[in-house]
Each structure stands twice: as C-alpha cells, then as structure tokens.
C-alpha cells in the first residue's frame, strides 16, 4: 500500500481579482458537498468538465463529481504523488493523463480500504453511483478513464455520450454535414436522459431543463462579455486569475450561482477599468496564454510573469464559451432543449471555421490566436506542453509555425511540465526560461522603438 505522505506546504497564490479569490472556498464547499451528498444518499455521478450536458445533470438533481477537478485540487495541494504512484502500481503507465491516474489511484485505494484514503485533500472524492463518459473528438481518457475505474468499482455503471463536432476540412464545408451531427448528438443526449432516469428512478422535468439551458445561454454571453473587458489597458484580470474564474464556467454551468458569479466578475472588472486598476500598475508586455492547461501546482508562475512586468489579458485555455448571439443560427428559436444543447455545442466548436476559410492557409485554432493577438494588443505567446495530455498539448508547435507563416513572427515560449505530476516540474529551470523570454520581448520592443 502506498505510504501516506505529508504534502508540501504552499502559500496561497495572490490573486488580482476579488472574484478569483472566492473560487478556493467555492470549490472546497463543492467537494465537501459531494461527500455530504454521498452520506445523504443523493445520486452521484462522476463527470467530465465541459461535457456539453451540464444542464441535464442539474435538471435531474444529480450531484456531479468533477473528477478532473479533484485531481487538479490534489495537484494544487501538492498531494497528488501518492495517488499517481498507486495508479502506477496498478500497471497504469505514467505517460497517461495524470488527472485520470490521480483519480484511478484514488479510487483503487478508496475501494481497497472501504473508506477514503488517509487525509484526502478537502474530504476526498466521493464514491459514485454512476459514471458519465464523454466520447468527443478529443481526449481518449474521457472514454477510457471510467471504463478503467470499473476495474475497482464493477458495480458502478458507465454511460458514454458521443458528442463529436464536424472536422475542419478543405474538401467540404461543415454545413454540408452539420444536420446529421446534430441528429446524432440529440439521440445520444436522449439516451443519457433515459439512462439517468433508469438509474435514479426520477423523470426528467423538461420545462426545468429548458429553463437551465436558457440560464446557461445567458451565462455564456455574460462570460464572453466579462472576458472581453480584459482588453483594457491596463488589463484588470490575467490568466492566473482566469484559471480560477473558469471554475463556474466548467463546474457550475446551468446554475444560478454560476451566473451570479460572472455578474459579480463583470461588475468588478468594469469598476477596475474605471479606476484604471490593472493586474500590475505598469504593464510592459501583454501576453496570451495560447494553449495548454496550466501546471496546477505552479500557478505562482503567473505571479512571476507579473513581477517581470508581463500580464496575460487573454487565454485560449478554458475559454469554453462564445457569445451565442454571434452564432450563425438563432439558438433562441430552438425550443427542444436537447437540440438546443447539440446546436450550441456544434456552433462553439466550429465558431472560427468561417474566419479561417477567409485567410489562405489558415486554421481555426490559429485564426483564434490572431484575433486575440489583435484584440488584446498582444506582444508574445506563452504555451504549456503537459507531457501526460495529448488532448490540449498536441499541435502547439505546429500552430506557432503556421502563425509565423501566415501572419507574423511573434515571440513565443513553450513551457514543459505537467498538469498534476510535480516530478516533471523544475521551478528554477522554468523561471530561467521565463527570464530569457522576457529578455526576448524586451529586445523586440527595443527594436520597435
């Protein structure tokens, strides 16, 4: 059995936005709530963030356990290694997604003990009644993790929801095929509702689902509008804080609490802009976090960037919404809530396709970078390559190469580490690379003066 290890003590990261500082207690309460729900016999589902069907889970009063989030919390607390080691002892390769490994190690240990592993971060990960997989066009762990978890919980059923989106191709336009994609997604979502009804013995309240879908639409718009405020100079909020403020976006969609959070954030950012209150008083370099999940155990690197005069007004990571009034269809006219979810999903993932088609040789991911570079007046790009995740960390080099080819050369830095596995991280090396990047930014700026 893996030895209990005391996590390394860490000081709380300093946030600029008040809203961001509320996130820690919110997440702690959410995780504590799942443990409490287990004790109270409420139905609990392991779920993936950005699953596309949050509202269905909420409408049926199912308590989601966001398993990626729990692994992230273990990483933030620098207490993930014992769970990773447990997964490795079970013959899972350390090259696999470390969110999944942390979760599987935790599950294996909890099932062996019949109770939570000793001193689990924030009360532990509650045993689920069901697990909701998610077969998309990315992230194999979303359809393998829970299947693998059944090795330790063979009595817990898994439901796999297929939610693909149309590829970006030259040989046809995505609109030629979008109808059959939506039809499939609606069938899959209907299957999910039937599965949840069977598991819980409850019936879906379709009116309530429609209300929550509408609430989520309004939340999407609000998030987009709030984040666009960050274009201001000085920017009132950076990516370091956005790695906190993404929590309601990906864990609380379809809840009033989530909506209210972004209303507060919007108001706070407007207030800061009016007062010319930035993340740092004197911005020297404006950067985009252009890809990759952060190292959850090293979020203070964002503060280090700040200490060098660099801010991140924008990021592509966890900006999982667009303003729905910008879509090329009027979602408000789609009254069937499942169809509505399917169209919103498809239009989100294809949002940059048309713009990309207009620039020869471009690609939606690169087009998005270009738009943000221009809108947010960006001087340089920072990305992070997490070794264990092929979902978000493959294609970064190529995107930078393409950006240079079709747009312009812009200073860039790819940091290398992981999302959860702290053994892959070297603070001194990371900061030396950041220092060198800052020197490059300064040199480029000097040449432009």
């Amino acid at each position: 059995m893996t030895e209990e290890k005391k996590p390394e003590e860490r000081k709380k990261r300093k946030t600029a936005a008040e809203a961001a500082s509320k996130i820690g207690p919110m997440v702690k309460a959410t995780i504590g709530g799942t443990v409490q729900a287990r004790e109270e016999g409420k139905p609990i589902a392991y779920s993936f963030i950005c699953c596309g069907y949050d509202e269905i889970i909420r409408a049926m009063d199912i308590v989601p356990v966001w398993t990626e989030n729990y692994a992230g919390i273990c990483a933030v607390k620098r207490d993930a290694q014992r769970f990773l080691e447990r997964a490795e002892a079970e013959n899972f390769s350390r090259s696999l997604c470390t969110y999944a490994l942390c979760g599987l190690g935790f599950d294996a240990w909890r099932e062996e003990l019949g109770e939570m592993p000793p001193n689990p971060p924030w009360g532990g990960q509650a045993r689920p009644d069901m697990m909701l997989g998610s077969g998309q066009m990315l992230c194999d762990p979303r359809n393998k993790w829970y299947q693998a978890a059944q090795h330790y919980m063979p009595d817990v059923p898994v439901y796999e929801v297929g939610l693909p989106w149309t590829p970006y191709e030259d040989d046809y336009d995505y609109r030629e095929v979008q109808d059959y994609y939506v039809k499939y997604m609606v069938e899959q979502l209907r299957g999910l509702v039937e599965f949840l009804e069977r598991q819980t013995g409850r019936k879906m309240d379709w009116d309530r689902l429609s209300e929550l879908v509408d609430l989520a639409d309004r939340t999407w718009n609000l998030i987009w509008e709030a984040y666009e405020l960050r274009r201001a100079i000085p920017t009132p909020m950076g990516t370091g804080d956005a790695m906190n403020t993404m929590v309601p976006m990906v864990f609380m969609m379809g809840t009033q609490e989530g909506y209210d959070f972004y209303k507060d954030l919007y108001d706070e950012l407007q207030r800061k802009i009016a007062n010319k209150e930035g993340v740092i008083p004197d911005e020297k370099y404006r950067l985009i976090w252009g890809g990759g999940l952060p190292s959850w155990f090293a979020l203070t690197d964002f503060n280090y960037f700040n200490s060098k005069g660099a801010v991140f007004p924008v990021e592509t990571t966890y900006r999982m919404v667009e303003a729905i009034y910008h879509f090329d269809i009027d979602l408000t006219k789609i009254t069937d809530p499942l169809e509505h979810l399917a169209w919103r999903w498809l239009k989100y993932w294809t949002y940059w396709y048309d713009k990309s088609k207009r620039r020869p040789g471009s690609h939606p991911d690169v087009e998005r970078l270009i738009q943000y570079i221009e809108d947010y007046k960006i001087d340089g790009i920072v990305m992070h390559e997490a070794f264990s995740c092929r979902t978000w960390h493959v294609g970064l080099i190529w995107q930078l190469n393409l950006l240079k080819k079709i747009y312009r050369d812009i200073p860039s830095l790819i940091l290398e580490s992981d999302i959860v596995d702290i053994s892959s991280y070297n603070e001194a090396d990371t900061r030396a690379r950041i220092d060198a990047f800052i020197d490059t930014l300064e040199a480029v700026k000097s040449r432009g003066r």
Partner: protein, 388 residues
C-alpha cells in the same frame, strides 16, 4: 500484376518488407494514385472502389526521430511520430493523399499537422464515433458516406455500389488468406514463425490488394510445401498490443526461446479476422465491421450484462485465441503515450491471468534502443513459463 522482380511467397514478402514502399513507387510511375493512411480504421474498401491504392504509412524502429520534432510534440505516441518522421524524410514522396481516422488522440489530434505539413492534394479525417450503439452506427455510416462523396469529388466520378461490392470481395478474400496463414501457426512447432508472419503482413500493407492476395497465397503454398522445418521451442507466445509494424520485437521473443503463434495486433488478427458482410447497401456492412467487429481499445463497447460478461465481450476473443493456438503466455506490449491500450492494461492483464495464462506487461518506446532491456524481461518471463 506483381512488381518487378518481386519474386514469390516469402521472398516477395521479404523484398516488400525490406524496401517498404517500392511497389507503390513503381505504381506511381505507372500513373496510379496512392493514398496513405494510418491505423486499421480506414475503410480500405472505399479507397479501392475509387480506384486508388491504399498504402499504410509505417514507421521505422531503426531510424531516430528527428524531423518530426520540428512540428509534432514528443508526447505523441512514438509510432505516430516515427510514421510522420518517415513521411517528412521523403520515404513516402509518392503519396497523392492521406486519410486519417479518429482512432486515438495521437492520430486524431495530429491530423492537422499531417494535413498542413505534407500538403498533399487530398486529405480527409474520418470522424469515427467511439460508441457502438445503433445511433453511433447510423452516424458512422453517414460519416462514411461523406468520405465516399469526398473521394468521388477528388476522383471526378461516382463510386458505384457495384465497385464497392467488388472491393469488399477483394478485401474479404485477403482476410480469408490471412486466416488461412494463421492456421499454419497451430501446429507444434508452428509451420511458420511469428517473424515470418509479421513480415508478410507488413509487406501486404504496402501493395495493392490483388497482389497481397497473391503474395499470401504464395506464402501459404510455400510453407505447406516446406513442411515442418522449424525446431521445437518450449513456449508458445501470444502478443497483444496496438500496432507493431516491424519484426524486431517478434524476432526478439523468438530468439529468446519461444515461438510467437498468435496475436491481437495491427497488422494481425485484430485487423484481419473480421469480414465485411454482404448487405444491400454495401456501406452498411463496412460500417458494421469497422465500428463493431474490430475490437480495439479505441472503441467504447457499451456494457451489457454484468461486469464479467462485459470483460468477456471486450477481451473474450483473446481468450479464444489463447485456446485455439495453445498459448502458454501472453506479452502485453504497449507503447508509451498509448491512451487506448494504456488504460486497459489492468483489465486485460487480470482477464488473461484469470484463465491461468501468465502475462508479461512491457511498455516500450518504438525504438531499437530498448531491445536489450526488453530481452532481459522476456527471458525472465520465459523462464517463469518454463518452470510451471
């Protein structure tokens, strides 16, 4: 018509294996169009029906990956990186197009890199769903019809049902030949070695389907004719893993004192043992085979019955093969960064061990540099089997 001086049977396989792509190069010179593809999930029947020659892009364990790293992250499956590296180095300069399936993250997430970097006249991603339920099957059929339409546009002509039916017949005939070839492994000692089989199957990936049928038929005749020439060895091994497109690993096991007599690999039994059924709409049979019949970790099979029955549904074919080919031990051979199989290791291992068959799990990096370390592990495993 076979290639220039290819020889027959095992000699042809050896030539096509050693000079992989030589036949495609010849055909290109004759004006044929060659379409590269990755993985077992590209429906080759559609390419064949369109008049194009499918050519599976392979890597090379002997070639250090260098050029690929300028475009593709090193966290991608090493096999895919090697395939890309070989492509960038000009080994497959004859390709007219590339078709990539939504197989795993390493393949699907690199599609754009392949497409933009190689910049071939044709590229297409087949967006295969993970699920196998009826709605997934219908969706997949629609995806395949989009592929058919796209290929038709490129070819400048329709792909008829009749052409598809003929192509299905050819590919099924090839699969039947591979099954016949595998029958030769059941004898003790086997009539054909694992390394020879691997060579034949890899060679077949790079030549037209008609020539593959002819080559494998020649190998079967030759092996039957030569009779039992292989020496007896103390252990019969099955290899389970993703894609093994070289003989080095199989040869290593056979040099260590065992015969490799069975597999669940690509190319191998996983890819060749299932047929396309004859259906009124030929795309129905194709969709059914690729989504439901090929049992690969990338596909999510819905749970029916209890957990034990679920394991039987997912891995029962491995158990059957262990029985049919009288296997003494299984080597579970998984590449680093392989998500579909990496997550299955504990389940596959415990399923096979529950049948009293020992399992050796090896994680590897698709490189000859690891051979020494693997040899030590394999020798120890064979000793363990021998002591039982």
């Amino acid at each position: 018509m076979p290639g220039e001086s290819a020889g027959e049977g095992l000699a042809a396989a050896d030539r096509y294996y050693r000079d992989y792509g030589c036949r495609a190069r010849e055909l290109k010179r004759q004006g044929k169009k060659i379409f590269g593809y990755l993985c077992a999930f590209v429906p080759l029947e559609v390419l064949t029906a369109a008049g194009f020659i499918p050519f599976r892009i392979k890597g090379d364990v002997n070639e250090p990956i260098t050029k690929a790293d300028t475009e593709m992250e090193t966290i991608v499956c090493p096999l895919v990186r090697s395939c890309f590296d070989m492509s960038l180095k000009g080994n497959y300069e004859f390709l007219d197009g590339i078709v990539i399936p939504h197989a795993c993250d390493s393949i699907c997430r690199t599609y754009d890199i392949w497409k933009y970097t190689l910049n071939l006249p044709y590229s297409h991603l087949i967006n295969m769903p993970h699920g196998t339920d009826d709605s997934s099957l219908n969706f997949y059929k629609a995806v395949l019809n989009t592929f058919r339409t796209s290929l038709s546009r490129f070819a400048g002509r329709e792909i008829s049902d009749q052409e598809l039916t003929q192509a299905i017949g050819l590919h099924n005939q090839n699969r039947a030949k591979v099954r016949e070839l595998y029958e030769l492994r059941k004898a003790s000692p086997p009539l054909i070695s694992g390394a020879e089989i691997a060579k034949v199957l890899v060679a077949a990936m790079g030549i037209p389907i008609e020539e593959s049928i002819e080559m494998i038929s020649g190998v079967i005749d030759e092996v039957k004719q030569r009779g039992g020439v292989l020496a007896s060895k103390p252990a019969r091994i099955m290899v389970v893993g993703a894609q093994v497109d070289n003989v080095a690993f199989i040869q290593l096991i056979e040099d260590s004192g065992a015969w490799v007599v069975a597999d669940d690999l690509c190319p191998g039994a996983r890819e060749f043992f299932s047929y396309v059924d004859a259906t009124d709409d030929p795309m129905d049979g194709i969709a059914e085979r690729y989504l439901r019949k090929i049992k690969c970790g990338r596909t999510y099979r819905e749970m029916k019955g209890n957990y034990q029955e679920y394991l039987e549904d997912r891995f029962g074919h491995m158990g059957q093969m262990i029985e049919d080919f009288d296997v003494d031990g299984v080597v579970l051979y998984i590449y680093k960064y392989c998500d579909p199989y990496g997550f299955e290791v504990p389940q596959i291992k415990s399923y096979i061990e529950s049948r009293d068959t020992p399992v050796l799990y090896l994680e590897d990096e698709y490189s000859m540099s690891t051979i020494g370390r693997l040899r030590t592990r394999i020798q120890a495993f064979l000793e363990l089997i021998g002591s039982k």
